[in-house]
């Protein structure tokens, strides 16, 4: 396969993003580290260096005015985002994330990544889809298709026997929760309905568990770990 034939799949998520490719007969998630997930986070350090992914997330508590997360929620809106003394559109920030993912792909595959399919929530409007496509173009990618996330999931898990099925697909992400009802038959997937909560995700579950643990420790031992107790460090 020559480089131009290669089309990668990109999950441009609210909290984390991933890139994958179908190579050597199977889908492989590409990138460094154990998780191969890029936090969807962009920042600018005090020295002016651009930070993408984990390094940006690492400085978020320290420099919140220089860091942005969950850009996906702003895609398609005319809103701009200020980082330090610079202003970005949501597309520009998403493009930085996409470009970093493409570099991950290029390093893992040993050949340039130029074409991509990017997934978006089924409920994304045309404006949001166009903004995603524009972000891909800004990242130097030829976005061959914008794909509904539940459709991609149904292809990944239900592809094969060609029988007609009606499925419920839920996508529990870090910051959002989407549910879709789809029918699949052969290679065709139709999204019948899709809905979600853009303010609910795994991070909220973590927070609730943390609060529950803190309350339990306070009840049992009389120690409030929120008050800077040494153990909480």
């Amino acid at each position: 396969m020559v480089s131009d034939d290669l089309i990668v799949g990109i999950d441009l998520g609210t909290t984390n993003s991933e890139i994958a490719a179908f190579v050597e007969g199977r889908v492989q998630v590409l990138g460094p580290g154990a998780t191969r997930m890029l936090p969807s986070c962009v920042g600018i350090s005090p020295s002016g260096a651009l930070l993408i992914g984990e390094s940006a997330r690492n400085q978020q508590i320290l420099y919140p005015e220089r860091t942005v997360r969950s850009v996906k929620r702003k895609m398609g809106s005319p809103e701009t985002i200020r980082l330090a003394d610079r202003t970005f559109t949501p597309q520009e920030l998403s493009a930085l994330i996409l470009r970093e993912l493409a570099e991950w792909g290029t390093r893992s595959l040993g050949r340039p990544v130029r074409k991509a399919v990017i997934t978006v929530p089924a409920y994304f409007s045309d404006a949001q889809r166009n903004a995603t496509r524009e972000a891909g173009a800004l990242a130097g990618l030829d976005v061959v298709r914008i794909f509904n996330e539940p459709t991609a999931a149904s292809l990944a898990y239900g592809h094969g026997d060609g029988r007609r099925r009606t499925l419920m697909i839920y996508d529990l992400g870090g910051g959002t929760f989407d549910v879709s009802i789809v029918t699949t038959e052969k290679d065709v997937t139709e999204v019948l309905a899709s809905h979600g909560n853009t303010q609910l995700g795994g991070d909220d579950f973590d927070q609730l568990l943390l609060e529950r643990l803190l309350a339990a420790i306070q009840n049992r031992h009389g120690i409030d770990l929120r008050q800077g107790h040494r153990v909480a460090n």
Binding site: Q59, L62, S70, R82, G110
Partner: protein, 242 residues
Amino acid sequence: MSDVDQSAVRERILERFTRWLDEALAQEEPPSGIAPELFAEGKPTPEEDPRDLYSLWAAATALTQEIKLQGRAFKELSDTLGPGVKAALEAQPQILSELRATRAAEIKRAAWQDILDLLLDLRDRLQRGLSSARAHVAKKTGLWERLLRRPHDATEALVKGYELTLVRLNEALERNDVHEIACAGLLFDPHRMRAVEMEVRPDVPDGTVLEVYRAGYEWNGDAVRPAEVKVARGQTENDHGE
């Protein structure tokens, strides 16, 4: 050989050549993409049957010329592309070998990462245990007891045990090029540290690491686990984020 014999031999040779040519062409599939009527047009009518000596000789000459031209064109192509093709063919095994090496390194890294996570967790626990044991010894050992040089009790033996285990573990990590990330008192580095707390401190330079809550480690120069740190800010700016 008489003229009559020569003529008969030539006739026989040409006849055999013609038959061979017909058989060879009959066994081949016509080239794809050419309309059948074009083949029909090429077939000779009985009136213009080319199997006379002149036509065959002309065809053989044209064929010889065509082969010469093709040969020359191939040589030119070979001379032009030769070095590039040769380099590409020679590079292919190298590229494949590099890709395999990269993949092998990735697999090795993933396997080692799991072990490393376990070792680093073990090191953190041992260090916490050592700190607690040392604090216990310091509390129990008052001035008089230190002056009287009381024999080591169980806690002191425990401290010694922790220390020996940590030294051994540190040696193993160092030998595998795993090093603790130096943080305290240095400027915050987002590639190797994670800020988990911030404190406004006008008395120290902005971004100075005040305290290390959890040690970070780097392996072969890459941060395998960022250090979790508390960092000073000289003056907070207004939040403009999302």
